[in-house]
């Protein structure tokens, strides 16, 4: 299955309404109203082709991969490895650099635990440069999702390294002038999000990577909100590790991926251990396979990987630059519409500034939970709460916000229906006037 090429004309409401036919859930109802699904930042819906790919795998190829002499096992292995190739080419990596995980959270933990194991002296000579200890620092930003914060807190606690933070300003932009002093000679690793799941900002990867390079620090990119929505090429970004989740990019739950630069994956010790990742095992010790197998212990998520391969095909056929542009239009419409409603404070960049198709906001006098409930009664699904970013909300003086997030299947009419409903919220709760 080669990746097909996409048309070059921009996406439009007409084409999006045809795309929507591929997503059965989008034509269902929510509380007696046509569903307006604006929660793809949390999880996206699946096209029929993805669900069929998973079903077809079970109907025709299901077997344990990399094991067994029968032809079914060969077919299953081919399907699994083909999915790896598709995912790799989708982000400009080579297949050996893609490790399948259950989600981005596991991918980030994999890196953290592997470095932790290296710090314990595991992995021999090759792994020694990956050891951290007292006097070293790990740098993250104040805007991280808990998945790209807590694994580093834990790694710091296990190794004695200190955790440092690049602050954000009141609009939620990273303070790059401060980043240059937070990242210093002690810094061994810099982990940051490509696009914020709360602010919608797209971080300046090149600047941050160059600060890290200067001091020889590893770079870890949380690409959960970028790989599904923009063209991402790991070679261009020049980062060492990239984590993302399949369920946010038209795939099923239970599958995600870690990209790791080949030389690092070759040198790093495993995180999970067991079957399928070894060469020779004695009662006392084991030798490990090269990556990516070294990092895929036990029976893998085969059908989910196959379905993710199909999702990646769907996205590539639609065209990532077209998706990016369509979501830029939707995001701009969201933000300028929200800013025009009295009592609404949009988090992150103002209208006209770059952002992905996502906007979190505070409604003066109405708690996010109540905003979400009101929108739900109008058939509109959004996310409420801290969106797994408590420190960022605290920094912005909030405990919770409401977030609308778009994808390739959302129309401008849906954005308008959402804005019209938001405009009614304060009067319903008696917060206006």
């Amino acid at each position: 299955m080669p990746i097909l090429s996409a048309p070059s004309h921009p996406l439009s409401d007409d084409e999006v309404s045809r795309i929507r036919n591929d997503f059965p859930l989008l034509s269902t109802e929510l509380n007696g109203r046509p569903l307006v699904y604006l929660d793809s930042g949390a999880t996206s819906q699946n096209p029929v082709s993805v669900m069929e790919a998973e079903q077809e795998y079970y109907e025709q190829r299901n077997a344990a991969v990399h094991r067994g002499a029968h032809s079914l096992a060969v077919e299953a292995t081919d399907a699994y490895e083909n999915a790896r190739t598709l995912v790799a080419s989708f982000i400009g990596a080579s297949p050996e650099e893609i490790v399948f995980t259950s989600n981005a959270t596991e991918a980030l933990n994999l890196v953290a635990y592997s470095l932790s194991n290296a710090s314990l002296g595991l992995g021999g000579e090759a792994a020694r440069p990956y050891a951290l200890g007292p006097g070293d620092s790990i740098v993250v930003t104040e805007m991280e999702h808990h998945a790209n914060l807590i694994p580093w807190q834990e790694l710091a606690a296990r190794t004695g390294a200190t955790l440092r933070f690049i602050p954000v300003d009141d609009d939620g932009a990273l303070r790059l002038e401060e980043a240059a002093s937070v990242i210093d000679g002690s810094t061994r690793l810099l982990a940051f999000t490509h696009a914020s799941n709360v602010l919608g900002t797209i971080n300046p990867v090149a600047e941050l990577v160059s600060l890290a390079r200067k001091v020889g620090a590893l770079t870890v990119l949380d690409a959960c909100q970028s790989v599904p929505h923009l063209p991402v090429n790991v070679a261009d970004l020049d980062v060492d590790f990239v984590a993302f989740s399949g369920h946010k990019m038209l795939g099923p739950t239970g599958i995600g991926a870690l990209y790791g630069r080949s030389k690092h994956l070759h040198a790093m010790p495993p995180f999970l251990t067991g079957g399928s990742m070894i060469t020779t095992v004695t009662l006392e010790r084991a030798e490990y396979l090269p990556p990516p197998a070294r990092f895929e212990a036990g029976t893998q998520r085969i059908s989910q990987a196959v379905a993710l391969g199909s999702a990646v095909n769907y996205l590539a056929e639609t065209g990532m630059d077209r998706i990016e542009e369509w979501e830029r239009i939707l995001g701009e419409r969201l933000v300028s519409g929200l800013e025009a409603i009295e009592g609404i404070r949009v988090l992150g960049p103002r209208a006209g500034q770059p952002r992905i198709g996502l906007a979190a906001f505070d409604v003066d006098g109405v708690h996010a939970h109540d905003v979400g409930q009101y929108l739900d009664s109008r058939g509109i699904a959004v996310r409420v709460g801290h969106h797994c970013a408590q420190p960022l909300h605290r920094r912005l003086g909030l405990t919770a916000s409401t977030r609308a997030s778009t994808y390739l299947y959302n129309t401008t009419d849906e954005v308008d229906a959402f804005l019209a409903a938001v405009a009614e919220v304060r009067s319903f709760f008696g917060a206006s006037a």
Partner: protein, 153 residues
Amino acid sequence: MSSELESLYQQIILDHAKRRVGQGPTDPSSGADSLATGESHQLNPICGDEVTLRVWLEDSRIERVAWQGAGCAISMASASVLTELVSGSTRDEMMEQLDRFRELMRSRGTVEPDEEVLGDAAAFAGVSRFPARVKCAMLAWVALEEAVLAANR
């Protein structure tokens, strides 16, 4: 407007969410020294709603309730309604009110509220049909139960 939504956000609830009866300082010194007192802090980690609630008891009668919190209309109104309802109740009456309220919340809309026991808290009946919101309505009640236990220690 959907009637489901209005069954959730009864006018009584919207009013109490703003009036916030009992909202105020919860330090022990804000009540008379002779009274037994206890406090509880409850957090709903899913949405971040928080309530700190203190009770003062004379023998086994609830003399006063004070609370501070941040959260949605349901959780704030529930703390307010509860303050009005249980102030002056005996410990046993309060436990009866709590049991009835909890039963109502767990009923998924199948139990008719007993207005005699629950007073304005009967207005929360609609919440039971929104399982995701039951925790919001229960937050202050759970704090009350713990605070009363703490006061009797």
